[in-house]
Symmetry: D2
Subunit: 133 residues, 4 copies
């Protein structure tokens, strides 16, 4: 809710379709939270040894989403090529993390939830890229 | 939604009341997004010179909330004194940022929205602190 | 080197002793890097199960140092009580992480190196707190 | 110093030339600190209105370097395409920030120092990319 209101009250014109922007920013911050939580939940499992790749990708994806969410949230004086590069790299991080979490989704509910969130964020990134043109 | 599901599917027992945890984590990530956006909106205003303190506190609050949201999201092997120190410092950051944004709320709608988000996050931090006991 | 030069060329007067500031900022960013690396090195060990608490504290300390390094680096319009709260919480994170890493220092060289870095950062935080008065 | 020691004591084989890795991680964290400081120094200048683009790129570059430094620091179970995408996007952020800071280098010493740091980080990113092959 807040992000949508912030974009509506911003003094500069939106750099892309406002709904696509809102969704991408919201999903990036939500995915950063979810991946941070999934890394921690994996760390709390008895079979942590088998979840090493998953934890690593969770941590990468959390960092990718946190940085990208901030960069996309900025509407003043953007460098479009730079913004695009981060949205694109973020979509790649979400896809890699989703693929890994999906492998554990049958055994660990937190991986199933995290994979779904990563897919939503990946889609929001790709939709925003299309909207930027 | 995701954070709530993540906490429900976490293998370790919650370190505090689960509703208070969920709300604090959600508000920390939302406040980090909102403050990042408010710093940027202030930077886009014609009277940016008069918003220097506001931008600085927005940036501090965004960093405070991002770190605290991650630390609170971790339920495995927590160091309670450390978690408490960050929730407490985060509440202080939210309060300072809210007070400054409230000074500009009549002239800048984004400061009004941001101040409200900071107050919600401050309250969520304080409620979680009470629940930890 | 860069941080020292940045503080020397900053338009506003330093908010504390400049050497103490430089050292605290440098150590916070270096400790964030070191703790990120130690969490990852622990994750790559065969006895990862026995390093779960260490990884968790590494991740907390990395987030604590990253946020505190940014907040301390800002010299324009600071809210002193807020800055103090974060330096104090950061010192607590460094101490907790150092204590845990020291438990594994005999078996894992990366934990020994990380514990030493955490102690240096803890000291730099405490020295800066004394200098702020 | 710490990052070099951490990579030397890591249980997994380095994912790229160790000197190039060390330098890239060190420069990413140093550039994150320098850009955070430059954004703040610009905010403290009397002609802040003329430095709006510079502040925005400083903030983007700080976030880009912080995330990339963390992702590159991880040597356990890396997803190479993802790591490459972030190093590449980080080099673009450093280049854009350096170009903007260079425009103000004659008037603001902190922009000159920051531009030099951004160029070092850009080079370290590109050297690491070449070393990964």
């Amino acid at each position: 809710m807040s992000v949508q209101e912030m974009l509506q009250t911003h003094p500069r014109p939106a750099t892309a379709d406002r709904d696509a922007l809102t969704r991408c920013i919201d999903e990036c911050f939500r995915c950063a939270a979810t991946c941070t939580s999934c890394a921690d939940a994996c760390l709390g499992e008895e079979d942590v040894q088998g979840l090493v790749s998953c934890i690593r990708l969770n941590l990468d994806c959390a960092d990718a989403c946190a940085a990208t969410g901030r960069i996309v949230a900025r509407q003043t004086a953007p460098e479009v090529a730079l913004v695009r590069a981060f949205i694109d790299a973020c979509a790649a991080a979400c896809r890699a993390c989703a693929e890994e979490c999906e492998r554990h989704a049958a055994h660990h509910e937190h991986c199933r939830v995290c994979a779904e969130e990563c897919r939503r964020c990946e889609e929001a990134c790709n939709d925003l890229l299309s909207s930027i043109g």
